[in-house]
């Protein structure tokens, strides 16, 4: 209760909670906030005729935040981008947290040799840069799919057309729908969780109450999941909350430079890049990049603040 009071006594915890709540609300309510075009469903909604109009148009009732040069609605990309970002961030953070927590728990609870081995592996993964992982995973996925007979073509409008053979195995279909960026992020961001978990479990596994449970004959699985895990997981949860924002920012970055991933935010930023600055240095077309930039920054800040707030809530020692 005291932790609760401390959590709610700071205005920046309120701010973090508020921002994250707004983003989650936007993610859930996306279909009613900005309905998709029934003819061309997707995260890009074209308004008006792109063949007649080549300039970004200012906000109008149809597009509350204006349009980009290809007449797609900024507001639509913003809302649906939030949905995809929340989805992406939560999945990556949850999966990498799970892997990290399991590795950390196992290594700390087993004997010294296994512990050393697992921690060496963890350290080795720490030396693997994200970008190299993306290159490897994308190469692998494409090679496997091409080998299975999937053909991809670049169409004139820049999208990719894929033709599947008739008898594609379920594994390959799964692989086809997998986001290489997501896989890479999960595979290359569990290490900090494992290290933190490992050190926390090392600290508490010899405390009296664990000793008591062991003497009273509890099974190791029960000790791990009932007694150790609940007491050791709070740092991992705090890190995961901060990671949601960080991962989405990284995804936007990689998407923007063309390393894959399908972030609607990055897509509209790429479309807007030539219109950021107008003639004479006036930000005439502010709506092409300002709303999305502010949203991304607030997304990062919101989850970071939430992580700090959870730190107040779950970690009574540091104040």
């Amino acid at each position: 209760m005291q932790n609760m009071r401390r959590f709610f006594s700071k205005w920046h915890n309120w701010l973090g909670l508020f921002l994250v709540a707004i983003f989650i609300f936007m993610a859930i309510a996306a279909p009613s906030l900005s309905p998709q075009d029934p003819k061309r469903p997707g995260t890009v909604k074209i308004i008006g005729n792109p063949l007649h109009e080549h300039k970004p148009l200012p906000p109008s009732p149809e597009a509350p935040l204006g349009t980009l040069s290809n007449q797609s609605s900024v507001f639509h990309s913003l809302v649906w981008g939030t949905r995809s970002a929340v989805f992406f961030g939560l999945i990556v953070a949850l999966f990498s947290m799970t892997i990290g927590v399991i590795v950390g728990l196992l290594s700390a609870y087993s004997n010294r040799r296994v512990d050393n081995f697992l921690m060496r592996i963890t350290d080795a993964f720490l030396a693997f840069p994200m970008i190299a992982g993306i290159v490897m995973i994308r190469q692998l996925a494409t090679i496997l799919l091409t080998d299975a007979g999937v053909q991809s073509f670049m169409t004139g409008s820049g999208s990719v057309l894929t033709i599947n053979p008739d008898n594609l195995s379920p594994v390959m279909i799964f692989l086809q729908n997998l986001d290489p960026l997501m896989v890479t992020f999960i595979l290359l961001s569990w290490m900090p969780y494992a290290r933190v978990m490992n050190s926390v479990v090392h600290r508490i596994k010899n405390l009296e109450y664990i000793e008591a449970a062991r003497i009273s004959g509890s099974r190791p699985s029960k000790i791990i999941f009932r007694h150790i895990l609940p007491n050791a997981i709070s740092p991992a949860i705090i890190m995961a909350a901060r990671d949601v924002g960080g991962m989405v920012i990284l995804q936007t970055t990689f998407s923007f430079v063309g390393l894959g991933g399908n972030s609607p935010w990055a897509y509209s930023l790429v479309t807007a890049r030539d219109w950021i600055i107008g003639l004479g240095g006036k930000f005439d077309f502010w709506w092409v990049f300002l709303p999305i930039t502010v949203t991304i920054i607030l997304f990062g800040i919101g989850w970071n603040l939430l992580g700090d707030g959870l730190n107040d809530l779950l970690n009574p020692r540091n104040r």
């Binding site: 060496r120 840069p129 970008i131 091409t146």
Partner: protein, 355 residues
């Protein structure tokens, strides 16, 4: 001294282990692909230009047999590693070059960017961490925390776009790419001797200060983009460490003796607060290298990242993908070692306590 030696031996040991684990994982991933893709890793450097399909197929079959590409994983891995150690990293048709050679040619660009980023963000991070920490809850501290939140939440691409549109398009103070065109032509010609490959240093060694200045001018935006996040992280951790150190007995004792606040901060607290921040920088060197590559792509520096982007454009290109990955792991390990050494040099427990 023996502890120092054993420390070094331990470090070398862990580097070797890391390289082994990562290469094993990489080759394990390659094992999932068909044998025709894997044989690209072993294709000779300079095949004559005119070969028929049948002849190339023939060479492939020979290479498959030579390198035991249909055998179990450990045997294949052994032959692959042997090849790697001989500097034969395969031929990449997307770069049109031997992968090893392509990497060596491009690495000075990446090295220069990394070097200047470290030189900028470590001193600045420590400095602002100390200032914010020693003035906890004052205006400077609040200002720092606010800017650190922004700095960690702004994607580098957006920062780069804003910087480009303000300083390049509008004010034309700074520009993207490595040098301007005239300098570039001169640098590539015979009159310019390449000592290190780093333009800023080579310019001085050749007696052309203008080239150095130009290269520095071109480095400002990339380095700023790259260091902002790492500056914020390092400074934040240093700030926390300073706040923790603040209430310890020796600081109290120094204060009681009447040592000035300035001296306490810089001579007593700073050396003890350096370790945690730098340790986290060591752990995040992989993300620094990723940042270097991303920044190279944004600002059109033709560094190592060129290999990655080209290999993704025409996809079955195993040789350059693997080469790029291995090289980046090696760079990260080097960076970790350097930062570790810096930390060891700055940490007072290593220089004073041991004697």
């Amino acid at each position: 001294m023996p502890s120092f030696l054993s420390n070094i031996i331990q470090r070398i040991f862990s580097i070797v282990i890391t390289l082994m684990v990562t290469t094993m994982v990489m080759y394990g991933i390659m094992m999932l692909t068909p044998v025709e893709t894997r044989v690209e890793l072993f294709m000779p450097k300079n095949l004559p230009a005119r070969l028929t399909e049948a002849q190339i197929e023939n060479i492939r079959q020979i290479k498959i047999k030579e390198n035991h590409l249909n055998d179990p994983y450990p045997i294949q891995y052994y032959y692959w590693i042997k090849n790697l150690l001989h500097g034969e990293w395969g031929y990449s048709h997307t770069i049109g070059d031997d992968v090893f050679h392509a990497i060596i040619v491009r690495s000075p660009v990446t090295a220069e960017l990394t070097l200047y980023s470290i030189l900028v963000f470590i001193p600045l991070g420590l400095l602002s961490g100390v200032i914010a920490g020693s003035r906890q809850n004052k205006a400077a501290d609040h200002g720092f925390r606010f800017s650190a939140y922004i700095a960690t939440s702004i994607p580098p691409v957006i920062l780069a776009m804003v910087l480009l549109s303000v300083f390049y398009v509008n004010l034309s103070w700074l520009s993207p790419e490595r040098t301007n065109v005239t300098n570039y032509l001169f640098v590539e010609s015979n009159q310019f001797r390449q000592f290190t490959g780093l333009l800023t240093i080579d310019g001085l060694l050749n007696g052309r200060v203008d080239i150095t200045l130009d290269a520095l001018r071109h480095l400002v935006m990339p380095v700023l983009t790259l260091t902002l996040v790492h500056w914020a992280t390092l400074a934040r951790i240093t700030r926390t460490a300073i706040i923790e150190v603040k209430h310890q007995d020796y600081v109290m004792a120094a204060r009681a003796r009447g040592v000035s606040e300035e001296r306490i901060t810089w001579r007593h607290m700073l050396p003890n607060a350096i370790a945690p921040g730098l340790a986290s920088s060591v752990l995040s060197s992989a993300s620094l290298i990723t940042g270097v590559f991303v920044v190279e792509i944004i600002y059109n520096f033709h560094g190592i990242s060129e290999i990655a982007t080209r290999s993704l454009q025409f996809i079955p290109d195993a040789a350059s993908a693997l080469g790029f990955s291995i090289y980046s792991v090696i760079v990260v390990l080097l960076l970790m070692t350097v930062l570790d050494l810096v930390q060891a040099l700055l940490d007072p427990r290593n220089t004073h306590g041991g004697r």
